[in-house]
Symmetry: C2
Subunit: 121 residues, 2 copies
DNA sequence: GGCCCTGGTTACCCCGGGGATACCGGCTAT
DNA sequence: ATAGCCGGTATCCCCGGGGTAACCAGGGCC
């Protein structure tokens, strides 16, 4: 559903901070461990991933659970509130799929016209 | 429809830059002049408003028209692309109306727990 | 000439998100 | 003992969004 997610900075519709939308999508189908999240989010440094997860946790979107068993680990999962964001997120993704090219074309046209103007003085 | 819009920074779902969602909402019902936009956006300085409008124009969301008549002025209006964002924007507003309190409660709880932890060491 | 309206621009500054890199403490397995 | 894995921290730095304040050019008006 969120195949074409990219860092939010490239999208006119954004959720939370730069990587939040991707994190929400990664958690859509169940809990994930920190190291599991690092795989699809390989370009995100651990510090930034922690920051983003803490922010989502603070906003009640994500629940963090520490399992202090023989092999201790941490799991992150969506709360009902976090899950309620998946609807708007899907709407945003649909908008982007449908209009992304149009937006890029508009940017090219605008930038081209701007450089023409500069040349003309 | 967008009665409760606030600067995007306070919202987990954001459109464009800080003031873009408010601008889209202001343009929903027809073209507006620069000075007309400054009324509902009184807290936004002209520089920042211009920046935001230029960005929306570059992305093909807004069309800027100069009327060089006896009394010259400028009008900003939504393009079809900009208008297509109103749907996702309405979805985002609905989400916020429904879940805003829940989010604030989560923040309070998180911050409170954090300060307790600090006290306990 | 002097003033206002319109739609901006210019210069300056500040803060915070987020990137790079390195390090860390607990636990287990061998 | 030492080498992993796990889930992070610590430090430093940079850039750009966005805020303040002041200034500006063209036209109309009186």
């Amino acid at each position: 559903m969120f195949d074409e997610l990219c860092p939010s900075s490239y999208n006119p519709i954004r959720f939370g901070d730069k990587w939040a939308a991707l994190i929400l999508a990664c958690l859509e189908h169940g809990p994930r461990r920190f190291s599991e999240l690092r795989v699809p989010l390989a370009r995100v440094t651990p510090k930034v991933l922690t920051q983003s997860l803490r922010s989502l946790e603070r906003d009640g979107m994500v629940k963090r659970t520490v399992y202090a068993e023989a092999t201790p680990h941490v799991e992150y999962e969506l709360t009902p509130l976090g899950r309620s964001l998946l609807g708007p997120l899907a709407v945003a993704c649909a908008w982007t799929r449908e209009h992304w090219d149009e937006l890029l074309d508009a940017r090219d046209a605008y930038d081209h016209a701007a450089s023409e103007d500069r040349r003309a003085g």
